[in-house]
Structure formats: C-alpha cells, structure tokens
C-alpha cells in the first residue's frame, strides 16, 4: 500500500479522519493534509523541536513520526493549546516576557513546555532548561524563554483551573 491510507485520530479533542501516504511524516500530514500549519518545519531531522506535538501523552518531533503510525492516536498540537480565544498561560507568558523574536521555534517551545508542566507543575529552572534542550532558538539566547516558562508555571500553580 504505497497509495493513500486511511487514518483516524483525535487531534486537539476532535475526531479527524484523513488519508495519507505512508511516506508522509506526521508533520507533513498536519501541515499539508490537515491545514494545521502551527507546527513548523525547522530541521526536518529531529534536532530542532520546532515541530513538537504531543502524541498519546508523549512529546515527539512530528518530523520523526509517520502519519500512518497515528491511527487511533490522541494528538495535541499548538492549535489546541489555547482555550478558544483565551490564551494558555504559557502563551500569555511568552508574550509578556518577549520570549520570541522570529517566532519559528515558538510553537515547539510552547508545546514542549506544556508537556513538561502538565506532568511536573513544580519544575524548576534546571529542569526546564534540561527539558527544553531538544528545542533550538537562534534568536533569543533562551533566557527569556526559560523565564516565560517559569512565570507561566507560577501562574498555573496559582490558578490551576485556567491551565
């Protein structure tokens, strides 16, 4: 079956049925088949983290996953991080801390940071830096990103319902 294959997955809480070629990565599937261009193609070889999404609770590089592998999967992308018009505390914090310049790496950082804080709401700076080692940013020098995640974690601990 080199032809298109039927895949059914829950993406950001919504059931999506679609066709993919086996050679298409999850990143290509999201961007080219489903029109979800939030996840970015940076290196396309697993180094930069710009395409980060959460599959079945695990943070992955969407460029290192095949779309056909995702039948039955539960996927969270950057498009599913905000609650309607209400930004996620991480998104607000990135804005308030000016934790981005060109913005290409930002969706990956936010999804990666969300995957961490969902599991470890008390993550400290060392833990955050270690966790985000798989996300590259060529603009900021990382300090503002780390501060944004620390601030968001603080906000989320104080108002867990909003997270």
């Amino acid at each position: 079956m080199t032809g298109r294959t039927y895949v059914s997955a829950r993406i950001n809480g919504e059931q999506r049925d679609f066709l993919v070629e086996p050679r298409q990565s999850l990143l290509e599937t999201l961007r080219d088949e489903l029109g979800m261009t939030g996840a970015k193609e940076g290196c396309n070889n697993g180094n930069c983290g710009a395409c980060n999404v959460i599959v079945n609770g695990s943070l992955v590089n969407a460029c290192c996953v095949l779309g056909v592998e995702c039948n039955g999967a539960e996927i969270v992308t950057i498009e599913g991080v905000a609650d309607g018009e209400t930004l996620h505390p991480l998104q607000t914090s990135f804005l308030e801390n000016a934790a981005l310049q060109c913005g290409i790496c930002t969706p990956g950082f936010i999804v990666a940071a969300k995957a961490l804080l969902d599991k470890e709401p008390d993550a400290d700076e060392a833990r955050i830096r270690h966790w985000l080692a798989g996300n590259l940013c060529r603009c900021t020098g990382y300090d503002k990103i780390v501060r944004a995640v620390l601030d968001a974690a603080d906000d989320m601990r104080r108002a867990p319902a909003k997270a």
């Binding site: 086996p22 050679r23 697993g46 992955v60 290192c64 095949l66 592998e69 990666a112 798989g134």
Partner: protein, 291 residues
C-alpha cells in the same frame, strides 16, 4: 521522501513473514528517530517500513524470576528510565537512555533501535555490552542469540541477516555487590554526539575490597563500540585501588583505535577513553557499595 509501503504486524510471526515477503528493502520501524530521517535523506533505501510497535514482545520490558531484565527492541527510552525498578536495578541503562537526544527523541527512540542503527558513537551500546546484554533475534530460520559485543560489524552495519529482526535484549541479573555506570564526553551540556563514551560494570567482594569481575566498553573510538576484555581482566581479582583502576583505564585507552574528525582528534579520544573508563569504574564502585 521516497515512496514506501507501511505494514504493522501484530505478532512476531507476522513480522517475520512481512520481512520475508518484502526482502532487502524492508526496514524495521521502531521509534523511527534514525530510520525515518535516513529514508527521507536517501541515506538508506527503504521500500517497506515494518512497524513492530504493535508487537508486545518488542515494546514491553519485564523482569524474569531470576532478576534478569528483558527489554523489547522498540520500548521507548523514556518509558524505560521512568520505571522505578529499572532505576533501582539497572541505573547504567538509565544513564544511557536519558541522554540519547532530547525528551522528544527519548519518547520514541529505543535501545534496540540505537543498537540496530549501529553507530560507532551510539550512547546505549557500551552500556548494553558492559551489562552483558544478549540480543534475542528471530528470523526465517528461527531464533538465535548474539551477545551485544558481537552485534555491530561496521559503522551502520550489524549481524542481522535479511529477514531477521531484533526482538529484545536480555540482561542477566546484576551480581551481588555489583554496580554499573555510563558516561559520555561532549563539549556541551545536552544533545550532542559522543566524542567518546564508556560504560563499566563491576562486581565487588562482599567487603568491597576487591573486584570479583568487571566488564568495560568504550564507544566512538573504533568502527564499532568496543568490548575491552583486557580492561575488565585488569580489575578481576585485584584490590579496589587507584593503581588497579588506572591499569584498567590504560587498557581501555590502548584498545581505542580512534580517528580524527570534527568532534575530536585521535589523540584526544585515546586520552578520553582512559579518563572516562576511570570515571565509570568509580561510579560503578560507588553504586555497588550502595552510594
């Protein structure tokens, strides 16, 4: 990426049948963090991806009643190092599994995939060797076992024949008063390919004064990760002392046959092989003593 087919067998028998049917262009897909990239970049010709993550034996890990540990070839690193029993009984596996790439890679990458990718600088292979790991292989003519130190044959190549599949790796139960450790040298804190790496497993006498036995392996210093028997022999039966450990480190350095490349010179690598061997022996001793 080149056009390819995708099959997801539900059992080992189905996997072997799929590999037999599709021949030499079939590649096993575990975490995909190497093979998907290699296929995309044309570095490996892949006609069919045989995804083994639907096969229980390939994705689970479990302890035998004798204390041995069998790790499915596709079990992700993050699941392995997140397991409390693995942390307690096989901390050297945690050392390796927790520094292969970042968390995004560890969510998918597996020890079996790292082994089958057969990079000279692979960060799990020295540990698999030091722990006495055995590869459980299945193929068209049945099952066979291969010690991890005999698995890799050249950069990117290994003993797997067409149609064969690595199912899992089995580690014998750690001996009494034993410990193991892995360490990698890179010029940054995270996310880099080893300049040199090393692993040691040591078993001490009950009073902790002498080595009963030891296994040492070093990586990124030869076309394949190296099991350095001479380094383990330099420890076995000898007192736990700086002089003994220095002799083992010298044996590891002697065994290293590195090249010079962008990551380091041959001389630096030879030196590092000794330094890291010393480090991992000392950490292994501390773990054996319950520190």
């Amino acid at each position: 990426m080149q056009a390819l087919e995708y099959v997801a067998p539900a059992s080992l028998d189905e996997a072997v049948a799929a590999l037999a049917k599709h021949g030499a262009t079939a590649r096993v897909l575990a975490g995909g963090t190497d093979v998907i990239i290699q296929a995309r970049e044309g570095r490996r010709q892949v006609g069919v991806m045989v995804d083994i993550k639907g096969i229980k034996e390939a994705t689970s890990f479990s302890f035998g009643s004798d204390g041995s540990l069998t790790v499915g070839a596709a079990a992700p690193c993050a699941r392995l190092y997140g397991d409390a029993e693995v942390q307690k009984r096989f901390p050297a596996l945690v050392d390796s599994a927790s520094l292969i790439g970042g968390i995004q890679i560890q969510s998918r990458a597996s020890l079996g995939g790292n082994l089958c990718n057969s990079s000279p600088a692979a960060d799990s292979i020295p540990t698999l060797i030091a722990l006495g790991g055995v590869c459980n292989i299945i193929g068209p003519s049945g099952k066979r076992d291969v010690p991890v130190e005999d698995f890799c044959t050249a950069p990117g190549q290994n003993v797997l024949q067409a149609g064969e599949l690595l199912v899992s790796i089995t580690f014998p139960a750690p001996a009494a008063n034993s410990g193991a450790a892995f360490e990698r040298f890179i010029p940054r804190n995270e996310m880099d390919i080893a300049v040199v790496n090393a692993a040691a497993s040591v078993a001490l006498s009950a009073d902790g004064s002498k080595f009963e036995s030891a296994r040492i392996a070093v990586g990124a210093v030869a076309p394949t990760p190296l099991y350095v028997k001479a380094a383990g022999d330099a420890l076995a039966g000898k007192p736990v002392s700086e002089a003994t450990i220095d002799a083992a480190a010298a044996a590891a350095s002697d065994a290293a046959k590195p090249i010079t490349d962008m990551r380091g010179s041959a001389a630096q690598r030879k030196h590092l092989a000794g330094v890291l061997t010393k480090h991992v022996i000392n950490t292994a001793i501390a773990r054996a003593k319950g520190a």
